[in-house]
């Protein structure tokens, strides 16, 4: 499997918790950006099994996405995802994406609770998220994912359940549920909101897992849940330590055995004939990576002698062993940094 990730670094405005690279959207820059993407794409004359437009807010440049996809070589059954903000998409945008070959949308819903949305500084209300998803479905998108956020200010197990209830009433196939992390170089980092404490976050996480499982969304990764057969093939490439090419500022790649990242600078990306890539790992330790990524997945990792020995220090409620593989339980996922360190340390 080989994936292609395109980082679209444009936003109308930045959310206070987000520390991904993006710039203020401008038509002129987005045109130059698309040209630069095409230049760089030409350096990879290969077939991609998955394509993922992340951001930023890729739906802002739906027309450009169509142009770019025309130049990408992919098989008929490829998974082609675009991240969407509910307040950016309309019928025209969605139709454009559909015609361009996009077959999976990932909506940044975050919450269906007005209070929580406000606390997160999101532009859209709860209704626009529902409308956007229904519209996408009516236009023929059958694989729709929704992102929700856990541990946000004012969230309770009850308000979380309401969000999940609301989501599951919509035609979606996949949910990503991320614990809010306060990043230092964000408005939240500088002026931290009051969020649930460690124990509160753990409760919310476990409640989310339980609620989603109950509604037929099986947990297949720490933060990801899907109806049977709708697991994100693109993201699985990352977690299974397979290869992918990243294009765009701050995009990461694992290609030809090396891990490297593009510098996070839009100007530079537009001007350079070839994007500037900085090697982050010349020769990744495959064993280590398989463990630290594989333990994110429900499928887990193959058991070996070393892992078996290290597992003896870990309480049983955090992991399970089945068919020669070890995987973490939801409680185990919650403390996975510790468990991974215990196995690899």
């Amino acid at each position: 499997m080989l994936g292609l990730y395109i980082h679209v670094p444009f936003c109308v405005r930045k959310c206070p918790y987000c520390d991904f690279y993006s710039e203020k959207f401008s038509r002129e820059k987005s045109e130059k950006f698309a040209e630069a993407v095409l230049r760089n794409l030409a350096r990879y004359p290969v077939k991609f099994d998955t394509v993922y437009f992340g951001g930023g807010t890729p739906a802002l440049i739906s027309g450009k996405i169509a142009e770019i996809l025309r130049e990408v070589d992919y098989p008929e059954n490829a998974e082609i995802t675009v991240e969407c903000n509910p307040d950016v998409v309309n019928e025209k945008v969605l139709a454009e994406l559909k015609n361009a070959g996009v077959n999976r949308l990932s909506f940044g819903v975050q919450s269906l609770d007005e209070n929580e949305l406000k606390a997160l500084g999101r532009l859209h209300g709860t209704e626009s998220a529902k409308k956007a998803i229904l519209l996408a479905h009516s236009l023929g998108f059958e694989n729709i994912s929704a992102d929700i956020m856990l541990g946000v200010p004012r969230q309770t197990v009850k308000s979380l359940e309401q969000t999940i209830d609301g989501l599951c009433a919509l035609p979606i196939t996949h949910v990503s549920a991320y614990l809010l992390k306060i990043e230092p170089n964000t408005p939240f980092g500088k002026n931290p909101p009051e969020i649930p404490d460690e124990d509160g976050q753990a409760e919310l996480y476990l409640a989310a897992v339980e609620q989603l499982e109950k509604r037929g969304f099986s947990q297949y990764e720490i933060s990801n849940f899907a109806k049977n057969g709708f697991e994100s093939r693109h993201n699985l490439i990352y977690w299974r330590a397979e290869q992918y090419v990243g294009i765009g500022p701050a995009a990461h790649s694992y290609y030809n055995g090396k891990r490297f990242a593009v510098t996070g600078n839009l100007e530079e990306f537009i001007e350079n004939p070839v994007q500037r890539e900085i090697v982050t790992d010349e020769n990744p330790d495959k064993y280590e990576e398989k463990i630290l990524l594989g333990l994110r997945l429900r499928e887990g990792i193959p058991l070996d002698e070393r892992i078996e020995k290290r597992l003896r220090l870990i309480p049983r409620e955090y992991f399970r062993v089945e068919k020669g593989r070890v995987s973490l339980t939801p409680k185990g996922f919650l403390v996975s940094n510790q468990i991974i360190a215990a196995i690899l340390g």
């Binding site: 994936g3 990730y5 980082h7 991904f20 993922y52 992340g54 856990l150 991320y178 614990l179 992390k181 460690e198 124990d199 976050q201 753990a202 996480y205 720490i222 933060s223 490439i237 990352y238 977690w239 992918y244 990243g246 995009a251 990461h252 790649s253 694992y254 891990r259 990242a261 982050t280 790992d281 280590e288 990576e289 630290l292 990524l293 994110r296 220090l313 870990i314 309480p315 955090y318 996922f333 919650l334 403390v335 996975s336 940094n337 510790q338 468990i339 991974i340 360190a341 215990a342 690899l344 340390g345």
Partner: protein, 605 residues
């Protein structure tokens, strides 16, 4: 009238002062005045030549230097300035340095007046028949009150001080007057050059080429290269290779040393243990009848375990201790092992400062991360079978049923402080099981509080507590006075049901509960939450007297691994691996080194 002798133009003296009253600065100024050191070689505080000494502004080891001074009377004098350590931990070394002199320049800070160490050192000097020459320093400070301080010196110490030079060593004011006082007030040494050799060892340093360089004051007779010498206390014999004087920046070889002179001897001496401070060097062929008085073995007072943070560094730690011991015979160590900490050393120190200095030097000069266990004093235990055991390691504390009576070391402590803090100091001393002896007014505003205290109560944080209760105005000094019967128990700490031997300590029985509770709290603060709940229990003789619980960790996850960026996850893993190196594994529990350090400081505030 006696014939003029070379002795008439020698002055052997030291400088005594409370810490920070300007001893090293005055020494530097004297060196400048005598042009012993070219200005370009001047480094602040030349005599203190260890980094730590310069930074802490204290003299750890005595040093000596020979100077030439052209006096106002037209004569040239040899000054031998012997620098003394100012801290109570090194009292014995101080006393031996004093014995090498005929006089002492007493520095008193013009604004602070007399402090604990001023008195302690002055009394030592007077006891050893030294002529004490007072000078009042730091007169450049706005808060200086030289007249009052002089009266204080007269009233409290009882030496004439009204004509004492008022100086500023820092600004170089009136140093010349000090030089003349040294010439005129301090007596010339006496001694018979024909008598059998008696030379007092007051210091020694190890040199990898010459062996131990022994610093001596020749009291009687003479010594020269080729002589066979004997150390009268240790009995060790050597052949002198070199004799000479201590220049300010280097050793200056000379053909011999005679009575009254201060200098050095080398004799291919491999171990500093053979040249004990206070011992008498004599001629092996023509020995003196008796040694100079006052020699004693210096026994360590405070013990603690030192372990390498990284077990693989054990040989490096041994090497560091070996090298430190070359220059510091009062440091003792022997291998010990702890279930908790692995292989390390039980080290003995003269006091807490000595311990801190050694720890710091190991970390700084030898670049080793170390874990230190709680300091312990030596306890004397009478067993039911009539034998007596000395215990310096809680691990070896006998079973309570085998103990007839336990004893702990006591000190006589003097606290000097402005009188408004008397209440606070008395409360502190009482909390530390002190027995009030008496209280004297030094002047209208300052008192000398005399307490008898268990040494065990002052080795942890007494000085810190004293400082914080008196806004830093109080000073204290103590001397050992022997053992007193006590009720002692051994307190053990268990993590997840396992005794952590490195955290055990011996405590006064009535304090056990309070200490246990504080220990448990401190450990809870310092041990991070882990994958399972960890009970912390403190027990005496198997009975649990305090308990805390570290709750299981609930959340430690990198929820998002976005866009294939796994650099964060890897960085985190590296950080965790690095962190693990600073952890000690006890069964399934990981304890950070900081936890061992934190429990040493159980502040009672």
């Amino acid at each position: 009238m006696a014939e003029k002798s070379y002795l008439d133009n020698i002055r052997n003296f030291c400088i005594i002062a409370h810490i920070d009253h300007g001893k090293s600065t005055l020494a530097d100024r004297i060196l400048e005045q005598t042009e012993t050191v070219a200005l370009r070689d001047m480094e602040e505080q030349l005599l203190d030549n260890m980094d730590i000494e310069r930074e802490r502004g204290i003299t750890i080891k005595a040093r000596a230097v020979r100077l030439k001074y052209h006096a106002d009377n037209g004569e040239d004098y040899i000054f031998n300035l012997i620098d003394t350590p100012g801290h109570v931990d090194f009292n014995y070394e101080v006393s031996r340095s004093l014995v090498a002199c005929e006089g002492a320049v007493l520095i008193v800070d013009a604004s602070q007046g007399i402090e604990a160490q001023t008195l302690a050192n002055t009394y030592l000097a007077v006891e050893n028949d030294l002529e004490v020459v007072p000078v009042v320093n730091k007169i450049d400070l706005p808060s200086a009150r030289p007249q009052e301080v002089k009266e204080e010196i007269e009233n409290v110490i009882g030496i004439e001080a009204l004509d004492a030079p008022e100086i500023s060593a820092k600004m170089g004011i009136n140093i010349h007057a000090v030089m003349e006082e040294i010439v005129n007030k301090i007596p010339a040494p006496k001694g018979d050059i024909e008598a059998p050799l008696k030379a007092l060892i007051f210091d020694g340093v190890y040199d990898s080429y010459k062996g131990v360089i022994v610093y001596v004051r020749v009291k009687e007779g003479c010594v020269k290269p080729g002589d066979k010498i004997r150390m009268m206390a240790s009995g060790a014999e050597f052949t002198v290779v070199e004799t000479g004087y201590m220049g300010a920046t280097e050793l200056v070889p000379a053909s011999g040393l005679k009575a009254g002179e201060v200098g050095y001897i080398t004799a291919s001496i491999k171990s500093i243990g053979d040249t004990k401070v206070g011992d008498t060097v004599t001629n092996a062929q023509n020995p003196a009848d008796e040694a100079l008085p006052g020699y004693r073995e210096v026994n360590p007072m405070v013990f603690s375990g030192i372990y390498p943070a990284d077990g693989a560094k054990y040989p490096d730690l041994r090497d560091a201790l070996d090298k430190l011991q070359l220059n510091d015979a009062s440091l003792s160590f022997e291998p010990e092992s702890s279930v908790a900490l692995g292989f390390g050393f039980r080290c003995g120190f003269l006091g807490l400062l000595h311990m801190e200095i050694i720890q710091e030097r190991i970390e700084r000069e030898y670049n080793l991360d170390i874990i230190t266990t709680a300091p312990s004093v030596v306890y004397k235990i009478e067993m039911t079978d009539g034998t007596v055991r000395m215990i310096d390691n809680p691990t070896n504390y006998p079973d309570i049923t085998l103990i007839a009576q336990s004893y702990e070391p006591m000190v006589n402590a003097h606290v000097y402080s402005p009188s408004e803090y008397v209440g606070a100091i008395m409360e502190l001393c009482q909390n530390r099981r002190g027995v009030f002896k008496d209280m004297k007014y030094i002047d209208e505003k300052r008192v000398d509080l005399h307490y008898e205290l268990p040494l065990n109560e002052i080795i942890y944080d007494f000085f810190d507590a004293l400082k914080s209760r008196t806004r830093g105005y109080a000073s204290y000094d103590y001397e050992m006075i022997g053992f007193a019967p006590s009720k002692l128990v051994k307190l053990d700490i268990m993590l997840n049901g396992e005794v952590i031997d490195a955290l055990s300590f011996i405590v006064f029985a009535d304090r056990a509960y309070e200490r246990a509770r504080k220990m448990a709290e401190k450990l809870k603060e310092n041990i991070p939450r882990q994958l399972f709940e960890i009970p912390i229990q403190a027990c005496v003789g198997g009975k649990i007297i305090a308990r805390e619980t570290i709750k299981a960790l609930r959340k430690d996850v990198l929820a998002k691994c976005y866009g294939g960026d796994i650099t964060r996850k890897k960085k985190l893993l590296e950080k965790q691996k690095e962190g693990k190196k600073r952890m000690r594994q006890f069964g399934t529990v990981e304890v950070p080194q900081e936890a061992f350090m934190a429990v040493l400081k159980l502040d009672d505030d």
